[in-house]
Amino acid sequence: MDRDLVEQARRGDREAFTVLVHQVSDVLYAVAYRILRDSGRAEDALQNALVIAWRRLPHLRDADRFEAWVHRILVHACYDESQRARQWTAKIRVLPADGPTTPDGSSSLADRDELERAFRRLPIDQRAVFVLHHYLGLPLVEIAEILDIPAGTARSRLHYATRGLRDALTAEPELASQGGRLA
């Protein structure tokens, strides 16, 4: 990330921030989609995160930490979107069942469906740690720093997410036979 761009944006330069937006949007959207499992909500989270980042940029102390800082904002935007989805489902929109968009040769369709259902049942904070660790490949110490949580908390969230997926996958055939769908 270009430190000068961040500094310019900190001082209110919208053009500099626009360049930054184009540099980080793809990865932010990818992370948001994987946490929320909904393309519309991921778009909303991305938008909100970028606007919040612009507003709060003058508070960023270390320009070199921009990327980690904006990831934190994105994760919190995902938390907000998740809460809104839970509260508004009846009124605003039904959560679409977005599936994977490209073929996956390493796991079966059934496995992916099972993972999709199991992952949606995880608490949003566990999803966030799981995605940051397994998708972005970030070490737990860095995740803890990004999310401003103790390293032990990051570790336990990852542990519970993994265990939750494992348990759900084990029990999935029974749930599937009952026809339940959890958003």
């Binding site: 393309s39 991305l46 606007v51 003058p58 509260q87 009124k91 929109r93 390493s106 796991s107 992952f119």
Partner: protein, 405 residues
Amino acid sequence: MTDDRSVERAARSWLDTGPTQAPDRAVEAALLRIQTTRQERDLRVPWRVSPMFPLRGVAAAAVIGVLAIGGLIVIARPGSNVGVTQTPSPSGSSSPSAPAASAGAAIGPLSNTYTSARYGYQVRYPAGWSTKAATSSWIAGTTNNWGSGLNDEIRGSTVRFSGASQLLGAGQTADAWMRAYAAGSDPSTWPTITVDGFTGRIDADGVPASGGTISPGGRMFDAVTVDGPYAFNFNMDGYVDRATFDAFLATVTLPVIPALDGSFTSSVAGYSIRYPSAWTVIPATKPWTSGYDTSHAGISDTIGISPGFAGTSIALPKGTSFAAWYAAYDAFRAGGTCRAAPQSEPVTIDGVVGQLDVHCPADYVEAVVLAGGRAYVFTVYGSAQRPMLMSMLATVKLMPGTAKN
């Protein structure tokens, strides 16, 4: 697939299959919003002093003046003139009868943030203070005295911050509103102040606080400013000085209300409305004919996202009164959202009185009104978006005769 490593391997593979590019529309929409979004100022109040800090007299005033510039918040106790700025005031500067004090007490950093669901502004305040939202709206012709219920209040033990706003009249300019507010005084003589980038006026600058104050014998500061279609009034009373008032005002963020420079007419739902032209309009594709869920695809016009507007209407079933329909709609709505108790207020849209649902202001605000046998539902989504909805509603023309079905 039952051990952790198998789960992690499968999950990593599954995670890799999702999209990796942000949709252009999302990025462009964010950049558009940023064009009308102001950055926050980096205000920090990093330290405090002991409440027992033993400063007295002129030396104390000088020291505290320096500290205040550094961001320290100081409350003037009864009998104090510490920190009071001797600027001209239309209501009279600190009068000889104003209390004078000999000590200051730090109230610490403004670490908490209050968001006004009703008026849309934000302000920071010290930890430990209590907040109380206004219970009704300040509108033209009403006076937002302390205790009127028209002000949001943030209270410390001896100091109170109050905030309120009102929509300008149709075609009313900021200057005209200010003159009306001044009620015969000349607001151009009032000292100026900047609130979130908007120029405002100080109409009371440390005058003795009158009846109803939180701390009899204390002082009062009052500021007004206009942000687009809204006028804002911020006030502090009690054992407070100008530096404290300024420090609070420096943290105020006013709602961003873009100019309503676009016009949309709904051929499906039968109404017209003005909106920010940067917002994308997606017209309804079919009429709303049954049920209470306005989120079904295509039955609402949507304009913008986060914040965003939705509008729709439905012909009431024959023999169904608006009251009965609204009660059922309200019950459905309350069951599907934030689970707070239903809470509505009167609202006037195009001359017709309807209901403004404010039970879930952190998520959305919604107006429902009956016209020509149709129930109209107008919603703005997003936290503290009431000012946005109210300014848009002021432009609505109801045209039930043009609606489909």
